[in-house]
Subunit: 190 residues, 2 copies
């Protein structure tokens, strides 16, 4: 258990490699890949995303007050990386990646068809923190690929195949098999 | 790409299955398992954790103004689940799990020896959101297991082996192999 102390680092893992969609005033959509995202409240259901003010998507979300979180399957890893390294100021990321915009239900911003889960959010608060601003958003609608459901209505994670991001080595990784589920330890302990 | 709309749900994945440590005024430590956590800013480095006011750890962190994020290896999954289903009001979770408290550097709250990464945080802001309060904390120190470093100083993720949590089926999962690393797509595109 010997430890090496390194400079204060953002080494939490795994994080979601989420594709966040947003759009400008002329309804031109953009995609930004974000790992600085998470769930912040269960009821109302809320998510948070952190974006640098210099990023193109920052102004779009600030102006529109909405965004969608799209969870890409692991086999989209190269498109996920492209959306995190190109700027929507320079390119149309839907065109570059060939990803499919789908209409959302509660917001104007499109969702990404190829992503197994789509979460529509309305911004409720922006918290300036430093080089990033934290956008808090209420989750207004959630959509799941029909193909991800089993016959009994269970969501099959292997069909969602969510992509994770590991800040320590900047790697993208798929998930392994389930090791247990919430609450299993108490049942097995008797 | 047919989608099924479900009630607004917190189905972002993967999320960290983090062990958060805190302590009471008599320096009695506690552990709470949290998936509602993430990185919110790179500089200053900051993390966020969301906790229900009813949870024992909520009052401890509110009073002490500090917490640590400890990243458990996947083989600790049963202890991670126990720390998420038992209350520190009833049991001493370090005693129940046999996990080892180690002194931190910048805060009074102990770290968990068996976790490959330990992140010390000081609370800067508490944002009430609904059933959860969001604690924002500045990262003051980060520690990595000596055993996780290769000879050239690289962090080997397979030795950290971080445990993820998938809200859709409430499963805990280890990571698979790296599929690429940040920026690789542009190099490979030429």
């Amino acid at each position: 258990m010997s430890k090496r102390t390194i400079p204060p680092s953002t080494f939490l893992a795994p994080l979601p490699a989420a594709l966040v969609t947003c759009q400008d005033k002329e309804s031109r959509p953009n995609i930004i890949t974000l790992a600085w995202t998470g769930i912040v409240c269960s009821d109302p259901p809320m998510a948070g995303i952190s974006i640098r003010p210099s990023r193109y998507s920052h102004g779009l979300i600030r102006n529109s007050g909405e965004f969608a979180l799209n969870i890409p399957p692991a086999d989209l890893v190269m498109k996920v990386d492209l959306c995190g390294t190109l700027s929507g100021r320079d390119v149309d990321k839907f065109a570059v990646t060939g990803l499919t915009p789908l209409p959302a239900r509660e917001i104007s911003t499109p969702l990404i068809g190829e992503c197994g889960v789509n979460i529509e959010c309305r911004v409720t608060e922006v918290v300036p923190l430093g080089v990033h601003d934290l956008f808090l958003g209420e989750i207004l609608a959630t959509h799941i690929d029909e193909e991800a459901f089993s016959e009994d209505g269970t969501i099959l994670i292997q069909r969602i195949n969510p992509l994770g991001y590991i800040p320590m080595d900047k790697s993208y990784r798929a998930m392994g098999d389930a090791l247990g589920s919430y609450g299993y330890s108490r049942k097995n302990r008797g």
